[in-house]
């Protein structure tokens, strides 16, 4: 069951020039799945909408969640200032998560671009499969050690400072990699390219999408993406990213 509650910050660490890693204590960690997200709320009353952040790691034993996020605006900059013992309002678990069963035992690409990399960590940790993790960065690397511990890691950087110069697809080509299933998260242009690649190779591909959100639970219809088929809930060609997603079969959505 979804909850909105006061979470306690267990630790906060800067892991890049504008990337932060935060562990939170929540009551609902047991129910969380990789690829899901939670909404974070500002303490400043002038900001009323949630900031959705993906689960990077889930420790169900300890009841804790790890978030890795980039500071891009007022909300994330506020969160970055929180320290151990502080609290923050959160709602979760939200969304569907990656369908691990579709990839279990198979040869898989776990592809993350930029701040789309974090959800791939818990996905890698839980997935029993031949995991090829392909992480695309602009320049600075983060989370690479954790990724290596949970699969074979391939890196691409736009500035060529590490791994393949270019994007995640360049890394696949350079290393002549292959897979039966793809899980991906990252900026829309990257997802679009991955979708095309999967179509070409004729392999199933799940992608995690983003849109501005208000309710985070499927009630307000703010966060839709276009679906190929008439959607069962909306009865139009719209799916709700917060509830029906954020993970969709790439062939079922328009990008």
């Amino acid at each position: 069951m979804k909850k909105k509650e006061q979470a306690v910050i267990l630790s906060q660490e800067k892991i890049g020039s504008d990337v932060y890693s935060m562990w939170l204590k929540v009551t609902f960690a047991k129910e969380c799945r990789p690829g899901q997200f939670i909404s974070l709320y500002s303490k400043d009353g002038s900001r009323v909408l949630p900031r959705p952040i993906s689960l990077c790691e889930i420790d169900r034993e300890k009841g804790t969640l790890r978030l890795v996020y980039r500071t891009v605006g007022a909300g994330t900059n506020e969160f970055a200032k929180l320290t151990q013992g502080d609290t923050i309002e959160v709602m979760g678990p939200l969304g569907n998560g990656f369908p691990l069963e579709e990839a279990a035992g198979r040869k898989v690409f776990l592809m993350g671009g930029g701040i789309g990399i974090p959800p791939m960590l818990q996905t890698a940790k839980e997935l029993q499969a031949e995991k090829q993790i392909i992480a695309g960065y602009r320049d600075e690397l983060f989370l690479t050690e954790e990724m290596k511990a949970n699969g074979t890691l391939y890196i691409a950087t736009e500035d060529g400072s590490a791994g393949t110069t270019g994007n995640v697809l360049d890394a696949i080509r350079e290393n002549a990699l292959e897979a039966d299933v793809i899980f991906a998260c990252g900026p829309t242009p990257m997802l679009r390219a991955i979708k095309a690649y999967a179509q070409e190779k004729n392999i199933p591909c799940w992608i995690s999408m983003e849109e501005k959100m208000a309710c985070g639970i499927g009630a307000c219809l703010a966060c839709v993406c276009q679906s190929k088929e008439v959607d069962d809930h909306s009865h139009v060609h719209n799916k709700r990213i917060c509830k029906d997603g954020p993970v969709f079969l790439a062939s079922e959505v328009e990008l």
């Binding site: 900001r47 909408l49 309710c215 639970i217 307000c220 219809l221 703010a222 719209n238």
Partner: protein, 300 residues
């Protein structure tokens, strides 16, 4: 102690309802609140046929609120009647169906279709763009409001609430038109038209360019209009616009609202509706208010 209020012969167990479009048909929020604790659930606007709504981004945060341009996406009245009404009927709350349309015929089609349905009231959203009048809203023209209200009343089997837009020079003129047309109640305010520009991308923050502003930021405008309308007409008023706490609800009731709707606040506090209902009760107890109705319009 009495928290019940009566709108057009329909008794609500308490004055707290949901604002259309912010609460779906209740299902999603039923994970957070017991719908049976609410005076009524007002559903997302529904049209005669499915509407796809606007392109994304559909919303943007603004200072103390948000703007939205969902574009009234809805699955159409047929699906709605089969799926959403039976779901809501499982709960001990009133069902108010919000109705939208681009033209008179579209409104009437929905209203007629609802005649046989087990719902308690309907709320007519007249802020929809009127395709027959250059996309100005029906609700900005008193003559249109009176006409549309009269036609809907003729077709409707359940009490009719006309939902007013605040984007007008004189809200009392529109309220009087709804009253003259035979409305059973009015609700206000719908969203204030606003715009946000993203200075980095140098484009509009919502794809539709303009959107409807809601949330705590708009409350003073809403309270003012509820007060003005309460002085101008005799119909019961459902007040809304930025209600997030029981204090806000009491403020609207003192200004003249018989019931209140909670909208944007649900997004950041999914427990808001029930907390407000409980807060009103606690306030009444503390201040020895025997009957909530004593508070309605008590500040003049």
């Amino acid at each position: 102690m009495n928290t019940k209020v009566n709108i057009a012969g329909v008794e609500l167990k308490n004055p707290v309802m949901t604002a259309s479009g912010t609460f779906g048909s209740g299902e999603e929020y039923s994970e957070f609140v017991d719908l049976s604790k609410l005076g009524a659930v007002v559903t997302k606007g529904v049209a005669n046929v499915p509407w796809s709504g606007n392109p994304t981004p559909r919303i943007a945060e603004t200072y103390g609120g948000m703007i939205n341009a969902i574009g009234l996406q809805n699955p159409g009245i047929e699906v709605f009647c089969k799926r959403d009404i039976p779901f809501l009927r499982q709960h001990d709350t009133r069902i108010i169906v919000n109705v939208c349309g681009h033209a008179e015929e579209e409104y009437l089609a929905v209203v007629e279709r609802l005649a046989e349905e087990d719902i308690d009231m309907m709320e007519i959203n007249i802020s929809c763009p009127n395709v027959n009048a250059n996309f100005l809203a029906f609700g900005q023209d008193p003559k249109k409001v009176e006409e549309l209200t009269a036609k809907i009343k003729k077709a409707a089997k359940q009490p009719v609430i006309m939902k007013l837009t605040p984007n007008v020079t004189d809200i009392t003129e529109i309220a009087k038109a709804a009253e003259a047309g035979g409305a059973d109640a009015v609700s206000l305010i719908n969203t204030l038209t606003g715009m946000k520009i993203d200075i980095n991308r140098r484009t509009f923050a919502v794809a539709n360019k303009t959107g409807g502003m809601s949330g705590p930021a708009v409350k003073p405008v809403a309270v003012r209009m509820v007060y003005q309308v309460a002085q101008a007409i005799k119909l019961p008023i459902i007040g809304m616009g930025g209600i997030a706490t029981w204090e806000d609800a009491i403020e609207f009731i003192l200004a003249g609202a018989t019931a209140v709707s909670v909208g944007t606040a649900n997004f950041y506090n999914p427990y808001a509706t029930v907390e407000i209902a409980e807060g009103i009760e606690a306030y009444m107890k503390k201040n020895k208010v025997e009957d909530l109705r004593e508070l309605i319009g008590a500040v003049r």
